[in-house]
Assembly symmetry: C2
Homo-oligomer: 366 residues x 2
DNA sequence: CCCCCAACTGTAAGCGCTTACCGGTAAGCG
DNA sequence: CGCTTACCGGTAAGCGCTTACAGTTGGGGG
């Protein structure tokens, strides 16, 4: 028997009210736990709601009380097709997003995801569209210009991830500096390596800049000889790393005792290139990464690297945003601690030597 | 110099109108390309909009024209921590979601993602919350009961992924049957294998049921001897697959000539287990998968499998939903073609033999 | 048994935006 | 030069929900 009342398609609070024999205000109050409706009233409303299968309209709610309970997240998608090479970075972004999602759910928020391709033109438009549908925005690295971010921030709260703090927006990032310093210290002090190279990532990345600077500073502290610059310019990818090694070797240069890579992907490429040339890691050359992607521990030898708490990064991004949304204030620059993960590619022997397990903290999370 | 007008925080269409010296109707028309505003008017509005950095409120828009331009997607998240084993499945869901996202953007829609943990209690509540904020819902496999889906479908359009068509909801899935039949045909006919086993996935999965049925039917067609049932019960995971092989061997059973696995993960586990026992693939036992995950081609030997067009699956899910939202009608059960990918684990030699490259089509996508 | 007060419930005013409808203006024609 | 015809732009009515405020009900004390 088809329900009698539902002549009109969209079910509204009025339908519930009339079926329950109360006013719309009462329905609203029952649904939101406001006021103290009489048991009888509550019951009738609840019955009507379930019988009708009523779901309040989010837009109307949002319009009425000025809160959408939605945060927008914008990120780059590896264009269209998925090459194997992307798997990791894909995973990376997704882990962060998952962190955001989990944190959001704790507050009853949902996450509006919008990926843009590397070639997409109207990123600003896309971002604006998302901004209109959300209470706040989380932007992954390098989505729009600093000026664009500042402009947007005038309209909705904005949190950037792993970027440089921008005027008006909040930023959340990992403590690259401490991580890199701990890593270099481990190589220079614990292992006593005197010559180090930093195989960089994309130069326009704030992360990379921070890592480069920390590398140089710490190496200088310990008086280690370093190699950096154009000859050691990678791009965060495995092939980029391999290419650098190949050209170094082809030009007959002598490799440094340890190669510090901008990220794990790069380290992976480097280790492959080295293996192809028959150079042993870590016996002849030590190699380290940054990020601690899942495969890092399965390489031969297992990769010494710096773990970034990606999920926490996402969670913190949401928490900061939420704080801004609900209280109006929030930290402009939050830094998450990273952890040095010592495995074997640095020269440490076998089973995770609990050597300089320097947990470099900077600020607490939760 | 701080903007003079903005005494009130939230910028509205009224602010734009007064700054441009026109009415709110004109602003709206310019912004939405309705009517034919005079060039002069358009220009003044646009200037005011950019100067103010105005972004129209999505909730108000949605309320006014009955369209949120948002689709909700609900899926299970591998609980909290990420074990390596999950990487693939994670990727899997994400690939589908990406497909949804891409298709959605073509229509100006955004995607509201909501993951739920395996242990989460109030899934129904969560889903309802998302439903209220979206124009339609896409539910991954096994989110809520069939009854729950039907109830929901009374409120918003719902598309289920790879499930069984449910009353009221639409469903989108891959053509498991054709894929499995092509695969079995290849093994039984092209290779002439007479004994086959089907190492199943979780029994409650509609996908698995379809695959099992097709396996049995096609094997029967060719008069091949088959093994199925409790002894060959896996769970879609690598360890599940390995376990089955181990127990078969431990009990001294003779393995069939070919093992058809419910998915690639399982095949991966099987190949590992076989390798540990020194059994050669495909010389002694052939192994096949299902899904064609990225690593499938990198196994030794490369895995023969059936490719499911995951991204297209997501895109089609959105397209079906969109059709329902905008026109009110849509296919209740859409089936995507899969493709048999012949590599070496089935016994085919070296470089992708272009043998029975049976592209089993069922219905067209776009 | 009636009155008064405390609760609870209903009425109505918006939230910001779209759009039907109507008045006003400018261009076209006699 | 006056009137008709098109168009443009403005006014106002909602979209579905929350909530301040007013109104109503029920119960306890006098």
């Amino acid at each position: 028997m088809p329900d009698p009342k539902r002549l009109k398609g969209p079910l509204t609070i009025y339908d519930v009210a009339s079926r329950a024999g109360v006013s719309i205000a009462s329905v609203s109050r029952v649904l939101n736990g406001q006021g103290s409706p009489r048991a009888n009233t509550r019951e009738r409303v609840m019955r009507a709601v379930t019988e009708l299968g009523f779901v309040p309209d989010g837009a109307a709610r949002a319009l009425s009380n000025g809160l959408k309970e939605v945060v927008g997240v914008v990120f780059r998608r590896g264009d269209e097709t998925l090459f194997e090479d992307e798997d990791e970075s894909l995973l990376f972004i997704d882990v962060i997003n998952r962190g955001i999602d989990v944190a959001a759910q704790r507050r009853g928020f949902d996450v509006l995801m919008s990926s843009v391709g590397y070639t997409d033109q109207n990123v600003a438009t896309r971002v604006a569209a998302v901004a209109g549908k959300a209470d706040g925005l989380i932007l992954h690295d390098r989505m729009i210009s600093a000026a664009g971010i500042t402009r947007l921030a005038g309209t909705v709260p904005v949190v950037t991830l792993a970027g440089t703090p921008t005027r008006g927006a909040m930023n959340v990032r990992c403590d690259n500096e401490s991580g890199m310093r701990a890593l270099v210290r481990h190589l220079a002090v614990d292992h006593g390596y005197r010559s180090l190279a930093y195989l960089s990532g994309r130069t326009d990345s704030p992360d990379n800049k921070a890592r480069t600077k920390a590398f140089e500073a710490e190496a200088a502290t310990h008086g280690a000889e370093i190699q950096t610059g154009p000859d050691w310019q990678g791009n965060y990818s495995a092939v980029g790393g391999a290419k650098v090694i190949d050209s170094q070797l082809d030009e007959g240069r002598k490799l440094p005792r340890a190669i510090v890579c901008a990220n794990d992907q790069t380290a992976l490429g480097v280790m492959h290139a080295l293996a192809r040339r028959g150079i042993r890691v870590p016996a002849e050359v030590a190699v380290t990464g940054f990020d601690d992607v899942p495969v890092a521990r399965h390489l031969h030898p297992p990769l010494t690297t710096v773990r970034q708490p990606m999920q926490e990064l996402g969670a913190m991004a949401f928490d900061v945003l939420y704080s801004k949304i609900s209280t109006g204030k929030a930290d402009l620059d939050s830094v998450l601690p990273v952890q040095l993960i010592v495995r074997e590619s640095c020269g440490c022997a076998g089973r995770t030597a609990p050597t300089t397990q320097a947990a470099t903290a900077a600020q607490d999370g939760r």
